[in-house]
């Protein structure tokens, strides 16, 4: 009796992990990549976060050197970078929470 219970608990945990994965992949990348693994999705998300931060950094440098033509361009890029970082951190926290929940499982 105990073994089917563990099995159903594991499948429920797996289902919720997959749901988190699909939610994360629609947030970070296009729907066509929804079938890729969680690790792929995370690395793609981090790459796009890196690109966003680099464009913000480039504009910040232009602002510092006086080459910036539009100040709102930098502020929009900085807002995007900040939001993308917050989103990535939120996805990572959810993934770590799910992992910890599984590790706490009684066997």
């Amino acid at each position: 009796m105990a073994i089917p219970l563990v099995g159903s608990a594991t499948s429920a945990a797996l289902t919720s992990l997959q749901q988190a994965q699909s939610a994360a992949s629609t947030a970070g990348t296009s729907a066509a990549e929804a079938n890729s693994s969680f690790g792929d999705m995370v690395s793609q998300g981090i790459q796009s976060l890196d690109a966003t931060q680099q464009s913000a950094d480039k504009l910040a440098l232009q602002a510092a050197t006086g080459d910036l033509s539009d100040m709102h361009d930098y502020l929009i890029a900085a807002t995007k970078a900040s939001l993308a970082t917050d989103l990535t951190v939120a996805v990572r926290n959810k993934a770590v929470d799910s992992f910890n929940e599984i590790m706490r499982m009684q066997i």
């Binding site: 539009d70 807002t79 995007k80 993308a84």
Partner: protein
């Protein structure tokens, strides 16, 4: 990421456009007293043409210039005056420029407000499940 932060890109394009408009208006106002000889063409005010951008937003389509004829003004004391004592002043109406400036400024501010609201909304969405 264009789809994820679509509002920011849309309002950003509007900020670019309104800034270009304000720059043109500033140039027109700066040259409101630019007097030329009647043999030369008058200062031409810049008029910004805009169009909608594919995929959302707005962009500058081009620049038009006002009438190079300007207005002939009788000012015999001017060193630029011709034999009849006339000079050519630009056809820039200060009241038109100032009302356009208010519209451009308000448009810029509106789009900044949209960006601020969008950022607040995105940040509130990040609180889901916390």
């Amino acid at each position: 990421m264009a789809g994820l932060y679509g509002v920011l890109d849309t309002s950003g394009s509007a900020l670019d456009t309104f800034k270009t408009w304000m720059a043109a208006l500033g140039d027109n106002v700066a040259n409101v007293n630019t007097i030329k000889r009647t043999s030369e063409s008058a200062f031409q005010a810049r008029l910004i043409e805009v169009r909608e951008r594919a995929g959302g937003g707005v962009e500058v389509a081009g620049v038009d210039f006002s009438n190079p004829e300007g207005t002939i003004v009788y000012d015999p004391t001017s060193p630029l005056a011709d034999a009849k004592g006339e000079v050519r002043a630009p056809a820039v109406e200060m009241s038109d420029q100032m009302t356009s400036m208010i519209a451009a400024q308000r448009g810029y501010q509106l789009n900044l407000a949209v960006i601020d609201r969008a950022r607040e909304a995105y940040q509130a969405a990040l609180q889901i499940g916390k």
